[in-house]
């Protein structure tokens, strides 16, 4: 008893909080995904019916597809762009700090405020983006009102907002690569592209693996910009899983299907992460 007195005092409060606000709701959510509940009385067990109704809804497959396209495209662009910026900012020069801060700044700002700014930029008639594109001879685009352009618009906004996070971690990864590797490759006559491909990229692969995994997990949970700017439209072109979950739970009051969607999302994130973990051996350099 004496041995667990102090651990209990220190760890107990936090553990109790997690039990009440995480473990119990997670288990309840699992139970509710197999139940019918109209928010009154006791939930009724319905077996797999919620999962069945979600999986047979054509909107689910559209939503799943959108979620994967959104996460895949935004993370790909984000990683490529931030890798480029990180490479350019990894060498110290005058004013490098200002650049780093500027690229990182969107990460800490509220998504709601940023989404509104982009909503204004995307305004087909008065917005800044079409005006800017007009200079290059591009005819006006309806952006958030066009089913073909709404998703790319949401992706671009996401990349702009999240790029700095990936950049800062890649920068640290780049600075961790010993300089003598690059120098000896240069002495052997490798040009800068070869040095990037055969030295920098393999050395950076553990960091890349980390940022891709974390960014994908986060992108699969995107909600704010969709809620604020498109409400899933037009024609469900920006309907993503978490927004659909929100609608089911808090607008349609379909608690059972909402819980089923929550667990499908959980499963999706888990399997994406595990697939990456398996494929890690193929391209991530092992630390020796």
């Amino acid at each position: 008893m004496k041995t667990i007195k102090w651990p209990l005092i220190f760890i107990g409060p936090c553990f109790l909080g997690l039990v009440i606000f995480t473990y119990i709701p997670v288990l309840m959510s699992f139970g509710l995904s197999f139940s019918y509940w109209n928010l009154l009385g006791a939930p009724k067990w319905v077996g797999l019916e919620n999962y069945f109704s979600v999986l047979t809804d054509p909107l689910f497959w559209k939503t799943l597809q959108n979620t994967c396209i959104f996460a895949g495209a935004s993370v790909t662009l984000q990683v490529i762009a931030s890798l480029g910026v990180a490479l350019l900012l990894s060498k110290v020069f005058r004013g490098v700090g200002i650049f780093r801060t500027l690229f990182f700044l969107p990460v800490i700002t509220p998504m709601v405020s940023i989404a509104l700014v982009w909503g204004w930029l995307y305004d087909p008639q008065y917005g800044g983006l079409n005006a800017l594109l007009k200079v290059f001879g591009v005819s006006p685009i309806a952006w958030l009102y066009d089913p073909h352009w709404a998703m790319p618009a949401i992706i671009l906004l996401r990349v702009w907002k999240e790029m700095g996070y990936t950049m800062i971690i890649l920068l640290a990864g780049l600075q961790g690569i010993p300089e003598h590797l690059d120098e000896s490759a240069a002495l052997d006559g490798a040009n800068s592209w070869q040095r990037f491909w055969w030295v920098t990229l393999p050395m950076l692969s553990p960091t890349l693996f980390f940022v891709i995994t974390v960014s994908l997990m986060n992108a699969l949970q995107a909600f704010d910009a969709v809620y604020l700017l498109t409400e899933g439209g037009p024609q469900h072109s920006t309907q993503v899983l978490v927004y659909w979950l929100f609608q089911n739970a808090f607008q349609f009051y379909k608690v059972g299907p909402a819980s089923a969607i929550a667990y499908i999302l959980f499963l999706l994130i888990l399997s994406v992460t595990m697939i990456q973990w398996w494929f890690r051996k193929r391209w991530v350099l092992h630390e020796s």
Binding site: C14, P25, S113, Y165, I169, L220, I269
Partner: protein, 268 residues
């Protein structure tokens, strides 16, 4: 030279939305809705700020955002530091397994438990209250993970000396370990504050009355209150007001914040 040019174009791309936000917030209604669009305010007017502060309880939103973020930060630091110290300094049965039980929560997306959490709040009568906004956010495994790493790295000699002098575990924690963990606590504190300040989905679900709304929820409500013509001037003014405090906080603690990201991320 080309490196600087690419960076400059990138920087312009990053700065452009911020510029448009601030410029639009200082434009007259007439200038905002002119074709072709203007990119700098002329004449400069504060009218959008006056409008937004008159029509919407912006000061109240700001207070709520600040109050919720401050209490969430303080509570999270306290609970996480205690748990982290517990895992770092004491031996007890199945310690590693218990720590794993903590870590597992980091894998669960918060949307999974949001529905039952709302009904828990309903049972507690915490819907539409500060308690509902704050308390569920006080406990996080991430903070425990981050701080445990830090405590593990601290030398034990000081604490052992204090122990011989007759200090209790609690005194050692409070007077020795906590001051030494300051850099990690500052990083976690800035994380928690920014996270709370920016959070949207949970405050949107748990608040109903206007007096409890935080900046993001209040601004979203302002946006949806427009029917035919969106008053972008007012929205850009509100966005600017909501962004300035968090940018200032970040600039003040930039170094610790970035170090915190890197500790939680790259190094194992």
């Amino acid at each position: 030279m080309s490196r600087k040019l690419i960076l400059l174009i990138g920087a312009l791309f990053m700065a452009f939305p911020f510029w448009v936000m601030i410029a639009t917030s200082l434009m007259s209604h007439k200038q905002i809705f002119q074709i072709p669009p203007a990119f700098y305010p002329h004449p400069l007017t504060w009218q959008n700020y006056l409008n937004v502060f008159q029509n919407v309880p912006m000061i109240r939103y700001g207070f709520n955002s600040f109050f919720v973020a401050a209490l969430t930060t303080a509570g999270q630091l306290m609970f996480c530091a205690m748990a982290a110290y517990g895992f770092s300094r004491f031996q007890f049965p199945y310690k590693n397994q218990w720590f794993l039980v903590f870590l597992v929560t980091m894998m669960i997306p918060p949307q999974v438990n949001i529905v039952p959490l709302f009904f828990e709040m309903k049972t507690l009568h915490w819907v539409d209250s500060y308690a509902g906004l704050i308390v569920p956010g006080l406990f996080g495994a991430y903070g425990v993970f981050l701080l445990r790493q830090w405590f593990n790295g601290l030398p034990l000699e000081l604490e052992e000396a204090a122990r011989i002098d007759g200090c209790s575990h609690w005194q050692i924690f409070w007077h020795i370990a906590i001051p030494l963990a300051r850099p990690a606590l500052v990083a976690l504190g800035i994380f928690a504050f920014i996270g709370s300040w920016n959070s949207f989905m949970w405050p949107l679900i748990i608040t109903q009355s206007d007096t409890l709304r935080t900046f993001p929820v209040g601004i979203a409500a302002l946006k949806s209150s427009y029917r035919d013509i969106t008053d972008w001037g007012a929205l850009m003014a509100a966005s600017t007001v909501s962004i300035i405090p968090i940018v200032l906080l970040f600039l003040a603690g930039q170094k610790q914040f970035i170090q915190g990201i890197l500790q939680g991320g790259v190094k194992e």
